[in-house]
């Protein structure tokens, strides 16, 4: 085998491995290099070194494991191993557990005992099986899976045991809720929710029962005495959890347990909760395995985002300056059948490239589900991610010159899915273009084919408002009015604009009106199927309709403030809040 062929295959494996990383970990690795290519090169060099130490004994199936071993992702920092011995150690650990799936392998560190790797694998297995059958929140499900796996790593049937624990834990939480908490949350010294802690403490007790009394379930607890004991035990655990929460929420930014000053306090609590349920070993498994645990921030960390490309989206009243993508395309001049397909294909490819650029595999799955219409509207999962990708895409389409398409993030492990995304967008664009031939710009075409993330706008604004308050709370930034204004600017469809002017809303004859919290009328729902002119402001614009959706005046109506005060408020908020700027930018009229 030639050295050059090795290098090419290593590079492919390296891309695949980077693809599996948590967004936050990917970000930490990439921030050390001039670009993803440089990181891949460093990984390949390290892999070649390890291979040389092993005298060339790396089979093709082991390549991804080898490349995974070149990364170091400890608490202290992340990067590519410089010390070949460390990478070799890690590779050896991985080889000892044949059949470890790559998404687990990526979580393995050098010096991990074989048993620990086995537990990671078992937890992953249990969690995957349960996810297909049950409706528990994913975070809690994985904590219980880890707790079961560390107790009986090789017993099999872990999923059935975990299901039993989940049922019993919920039952216990309900029982305690009934008997104990007259004023839930009264004893919390930091903001939080006692029901939430009680749910965790129910699972913790259920694990104990399951470990102590395998095979005995409800019968033991049904007796009154037993039930009383359970309740007092769960309540005891609740007290400990309250302390954990308090500790987690007051960790100084500079504490070694924190990955950075921009990591929310509550992250450390999730680890504490996993420990409370399954013990310290389960806590370690959960920490390693839980994807996205450190990605609870809304923004990707600084390194990942392409440097804000000059935010040029400019709208002049009356004459939208939109992308010249379709008009400028040579094929568009003729306008025939083949040409429509060619334009549609070019636009769809550009959209998918932009939506997937520099996403991790988990993020990509969320984007693909949405674009291919497999995602139900009106749910909050991955919503901030999708809004962020959507805004980036629309900025590119409005002003393609300022945003050259650039090289696509290699989509190899994802190639088929990306092709399918392009295919479904292309067909939708083509059929739209045939239905309404004429002067549709790239922005309008894109807006007409991207599946709606919501069917009614008001609930999504309400949900985002609460989410923003949660996200920003740990920065001592919590203000309902400010969050509401930001939520309303963030919740807009593909071709919709929050306009930087005091434009009054359109006459509401074509919409039903509702009163805002502060008593101002506001469009609630479109009643007539005729589009409102795009330069009129209508907060009830349906997802696919392009045009102005908010202005300083409509935002002011939400919080009873004057347009000028809103302008200052938005600008200030954009400076204060690390999380929301790229979602809440307002455009020039």
């Amino acid at each position: 085998m030639t050295r050059r062929a090795d290098a090419a295959r290593f590079a492919r494996a390296a891309w695949a491995v980077l693809d599996l990383l948590d967004p936050a970990d990917l970000d930490r690795v990439l921030s050390l290099f001039a670009g993803a290519e440089a990181a891949v090169a460093a990984m390949c060099t390290c892999a070649a070194g390890v291979q040389a130490r092993l005298h060339g004994n790396v089979s093709p199936e082991q390549e991804e494991l080898l490349l995974a071993a070149t990364l170091s992702l400890g608490r202290g920092g992340a990067g590519v191993h410089r010390n070949l011995a460390n990478a070799a150690d890690r590779f050896e650990v991985l080889l000892r557990q044949p059949g470890t799936p790559p998404e687990v392998a990526i979580a393995v560190r050098g010096k991990d005992p074989a048993e620990f790797v086995l537990r990671l694998g078992e937890t992953h297995h249990i969690d995957t099986v349960l996810a297909a059958r049950r409706d528990e929140p994913p975070m809690l499900r994985m904590m219980v899976a880890a707790a079961v796996a560390v107790s009986r790593p090789d017993a099999g049937c872990g999923d059935e045991a975990a299901a039993t624990v989940l049922d019993r834990g919920a039952e216990l939480a309900a029982m305690c809720r009934d008997s104990g908490l007259s004023a839930p949350g009264a004893s919390l010294t930091v903001r939080g929710n006692a029901d939430f802690l009680l749910t965790i403490s129910g699972y913790a007790h259920a694990i104990q029962e399951w470990r102590g009394l395998p095979g005995r379930g409800d019968a033991a607890a049904a007796s009154c005495d037993g039930a009383q004991r359970c309740v007092s035990d769960v309540m005891g655990r609740l007290t400990c959890l309250e302390k954990d929460l308090h500790r987690a929420m007051t960790v100084p930014d500079t504490h070694p347990a924190r990955r950075g000053t921009d990591e929310p306090d509550v992250v450390t609590f999730w680890s504490a909760a996993a420990v409370a349920i399954g013990g310290s070993e389960a806590g370690r498994v959960f920490d390693r395995l839980h994807r996205g645990l450190r990605d609870i921030r809304l923004t990707p960390a600084r390194g990942t985002l392409p440097v804000a490309p000059g935010e040029l989206a400019i709208h002049r009243t009356g004459t939208h300056r939109t992308g010249t993508y379709s008009a400028g395309h040579p094929a568009a001049q003729a306008g025939g059948h083949v040409e429509v397909l060619a334009v549609a294909d070019a636009l769809a490819t550009r959209m998918v490239t932009s939506l997937l650029r520099e996403t991790s595999v988990t993020e990509r799955a969320i984007v693909a589900d949405w674009v291919r219409g497999r995602r139900a509207p009106d749910v909050t999962d991955g919503l901030p991610l999708l809004l962020r990708r959507l805004r980036g895409l629309m900025r590119e389409l409005r002003d393609p010159e300022a945003h050259p398409a650039g090289p696509a993030w290699p989509t190899q492990p994802f190639g088929l899915e990306a092709l399918a995304m392009i295919g479904s967008l292309r067909d939708a664009i083509a059929s739209h273009a045939r239905r309404a031939p004429g002067n549709d710009s790239a922005v309008e075409l894109a807006a007409s084919v991207l599946p709606p993330l919501w069917t009614v706008r008001t609930p999504i604004i309400r949900a985002l408002t609460q989410r923003i308050k949660m996200d920003e709370e740990w920065r001592g930034w919590n203000n309902h009015g400010k969050a509401l204004v930001l939520a309303a600017t963030a919740a807009r469809g593909p071709g919709q604009v929050a306009v930087r002017a005091s434009t009054a809303p359109h006459p509401v004859a074509s919409c039903t009106s509702e009163l805002t919290e502060t008593g101002h009328p506001r469009c609630a729902m479109r009643t007539i199927g005729i589009a409102v002119d795009r330069t009129e402001v209508c907060p009830a614009r349906p997802w696919h309709e392009t045009g102005f959706i908010e202005s300083f005046q409509t935002l002011g109506g939400l919080v009873d403030d004057l347009p000028d005060a809103i302008r200052k408020r938005v600008d200030r908020a954009r400076n204060d809040a690390v999380v929301w700027p790229d979602l809440t930018e307002l455009d020039q009229p």
Binding site: A173, A174, N193, T199, L293, V379, R462, G481
Partner: protein, 305 residues
């Protein structure tokens, strides 16, 4: 994970020993909790003026049946799950609600939420440990009228302070209050209630000639008044220990909805306002509680077919 009630992770539990169903929306947000009426308890996120209830405790009837009005309170989806956990094990089930279902749930509970959150709206009463928090406009704002919206109409809570004072001021010789309503002249669960036998027409819309012992008014939320085609001022009159609720037709054409009132005491007895000979709409309700603790009065509209 920043978990809010709007993420829609819901657990429904049945507690057979207590005869209760719990509904818990998993959230990391702090909540305020209160007893709403006998057997009904709920918690709301303390700074979300539009949010769904984060916790609900509901009574289950003897024999393990969910009262039918629970369907109104929970919506079809949660009601179906509640029936499952009441019927058979496992006694707890998780499910996921989307934003529209959550918004509907929030709309049903608006009057209760409004009342519970009003207790924290005053910044002076807030826990200092929770830190400086901006005002929540909806909690004190005029726009949030506390109208509930459920499957076939609207509902609201009416003020009770004047009514309590009026009832408490009655001479003690006045008949005791009893739970329930007067329905077509017969009394369901109070066989020894002689008044109704002497005067079988009360509650049927006829005018009662007994003296009015106390009276006052309620302002109806505009949407409810419009739907029912009545003037927004509702009059209450206490006579013979019972409360007459009287509305005046607005004269703007036939009403779109029927108007009913009830004491919010857990009995779920709604009395429809019926047109009497004098051209006024009238219903009679009564409650068994001590006058100074009379339950809140609820009013609802039901869309006419």
């Amino acid at each position: 994970m920043s978990l809010t009630a709007w993420d829609g992770h819901v657990r429904v539990d049945y507690l057979p020993m207590r005869g209760r169903v719990h509904v818990t929306l998993l959230t990391a947000e702090p909540t305020v909790e209160a007893d709403l009426r006998p057997g009904l308890r709920a918690a709301f996120v303390d700074d979300d003026p539009h949010g769904p209830p984060a916790f609900i405790a509901l009574p289950v009837e003897a024999g393990g049946r969910l009262p039918t009005h629970v369907r109104d309170l929970l919506g079809e989806r949660l009601f179906a799950i509640a029936e499952q956990v009441v019927d058979h094990a496992p006694r707890s089930r998780w499910t996921r609600l989307d934003l529209l279902a959550l918004d509907d749930l929030a709309a049903v509970w608006a009057p209760y939420r409004h009342r519970v959150l009003a207790t924290v709206a005053d910044p002076g009463t807030r826990d200092a440990a929770s830190g400086a928090r901006g005002p929540v406009p909806g909690l004190s704002g005029i726009g949030l009228s506390g109208i509930g919206r459920w499957a076939n109409g609207l509902w609201a809570l009416l003020g009770v302070d004047d009514l309590r004072r009026g009832l408490a001021a009655l001479p003690s010789a006045d008949p005791v209050f009893m739970s329930g309503g007067v329905d077509n002249g017969s009394v369901d669960d109070a066989d020894d209630f002689d008044d109704s036998l002497e005067n079988p027409s009360i509650g049927g819309g006829a005018e009662d000639t007994a003296a009015v012992a106390a009276m006052g008014t309620w302002e109806l939320p505009a949407d409810i008044a419009v739907a029912a085609g009545v003037r927004p001022t509702l009059r209450w009159e206490v006579r013979r220990g019972m409360v007459d609720v009287v509305a005046e037709p607005a004269g703007t054409g036939p009403p779109r909805a029927r108007l009913s009132v009830s004491f919010d005491d857990g009995s779920e007895r709604w009395e429809s306002l019926v047109m009497g000979p004098s051209g006024l709409l009238r219903a009679t309700i009564w409650s068994a509680t001590e006058p100074d603790r009379a339950p809140t009065v609820r009013i609802r509209t039901e869309e006419l077919p």
